[in-house]
Symmetry: D2
């Protein structure tokens, strides 16, 4: 029995940097760092996105999966997938990134709603059992993130 909620499903309309769509149930047994961002959010461009890429590069060998999620909830026309694709290329983002599925007539996309995120950037750490163990809106320093990811890695499968 656990007080940690199961991580809601990813609802993604388009993927970049991965040949096959990512699905949380298939990642059971691994630690997942889910990073929600918008390509024109300064806190994301300057802090969140590069940090997610650092997590990806540092922990890839230990089986951590970093998933970027483009959660557009403002300036929708300005951040269409064609712009996101160029952004990922120019800023050398190599980890998988999904476009959070837009909902007709709604400002906030589907996955962002399911996780009740407050804005971007948001970092969500999901444990090997598929539970949300940390959800943070804003910036976290690297010492904290490194420690928290490792804490989840240490847990038995």
């Amino acid at each position: 029995m656990s007080s940690h909620p199961a991580a809601p499903a990813l609802q993604v309309s388009q993927w970049f940097n991965t040949e096959t769509p990512l699905d949380l149930p298939a990642l059971r047994g691994r630690v997942v760092a889910l990073h929600a961002f918008q390509m024109l959010c300064p806190g994301c461009v300057l802090h969140g996105v590069p940090q997610a890429e650092r997590i990806h590069r540092h922990f890839a060998g230990e089986g951590v999966v970093v998933v970027g999620l483009h959660t557009v909830f403002e300036h929708h026309e300005a951040m269409q997938p064609v712009s996101l694709q160029a952004f990922l290329h120019e800023f050398r983002v190599t980890h998988p990134v999904g476009v959070d599925a837009p909902l007709a007539g709604q400002r906030i996309p589907a996955t962002m709603q399911a996780y009740e995120m407050q804005g971007t950037p948001t970092l969500i750490l999901i444990d090997r059992a598929g539970r949300v163990r940390r959800q943070h809106f804003g910036q976290l320093d690297d010492l904290t993130v490194g420690a928290e990811v490792m804490r989840l890695l240490c847990e038995a499968r």
Copy 2:
């Protein structure tokens, strides 16, 4: 007689952060810092654009005019004016920015061609007589930029 070339005209298809289009002849007598960038060029986002805004804020009282120029020469679809507008809003760019006029069938826009720019970011300093005194592709440190702008300000009108 001078060895410094006259600054080519600005060819702009759309302006932001100004109610009236900017025109170099009308700025004769003032020092102009022309800053060419692309909204998805990391060197521009991290260095060039914030530096241009610092020049704008620091030297506004001394009559320096900072003009941003969005010179899209790659990923054209990704950096349309609707995206630029959101970028300027989110990154709090307050100085005037023009969209360098696209030329049908050509990758490089009109003003970028006229100045023979090599890429982005490029900083161009134009003196009170309308001549290009400095054109630099890449990054210049603030100490250098502050000194060079002031050197032009010191020249008699």
Copy 3:
């Protein structure tokens, strides 16, 4: 049986920021981050010392003990304890710092020799069993340090 060497004893001539001398055997059961520095080494002042203080502040609640070690091996006259004390005060170092015991007629102090350190800054991570698990000369990024400290914290006592 382990391939990890037991951490040599701390040989300290003077302590700051602690009322009682620190002794590794007494810290058995806890994770120790031993940080060797010189107060006039730029890599220490700009990177190593502030990182050690961040480790101290972040992990204090989890029982990690951060120990600074002032390993003077050059400019000995310039970095006497009276200068170190002012440095610690001015740079707001709050974790315990010991002066590595000088050896008569030798350039390199006692603990630095025992650990065979190559220079400063050096970060040494000691596990709950008192073994050296990591010894790094130079800079380590915070993501790595946060993860490595947590990995040792996760090990059973």
Copy 4:
């Protein structure tokens, strides 16, 4: 007639990085950037001293003279000349630095008193006529410093 005060004489007990003592009257006709610091003042180590060195390197060709002044007004025993010398070596300070002359029984050294400085770091800009044109306690950004130095350089001798 001018409202700018004449720069008080430098009172220096020991010089580093110069074979001959520096004297303001002998620098008449040149622009002088006088930078007061303490080697254990974090704002000096992290900001003021590197900025002074940047001014030195950038403007050397234009005849600007950068003079560091070690104005010890606290922790006197900790910042003796032997420590300063090692600091200048390790932090690669190449511009001339003088030790502000201590006054018997007084906490604040002679030149610091004459200029009525409030603390460190302090940057003082002296024009070609030997007058104090700017005296700033704290940090100034590079854009401002570059512009102010150039403004003085532009003035006729």
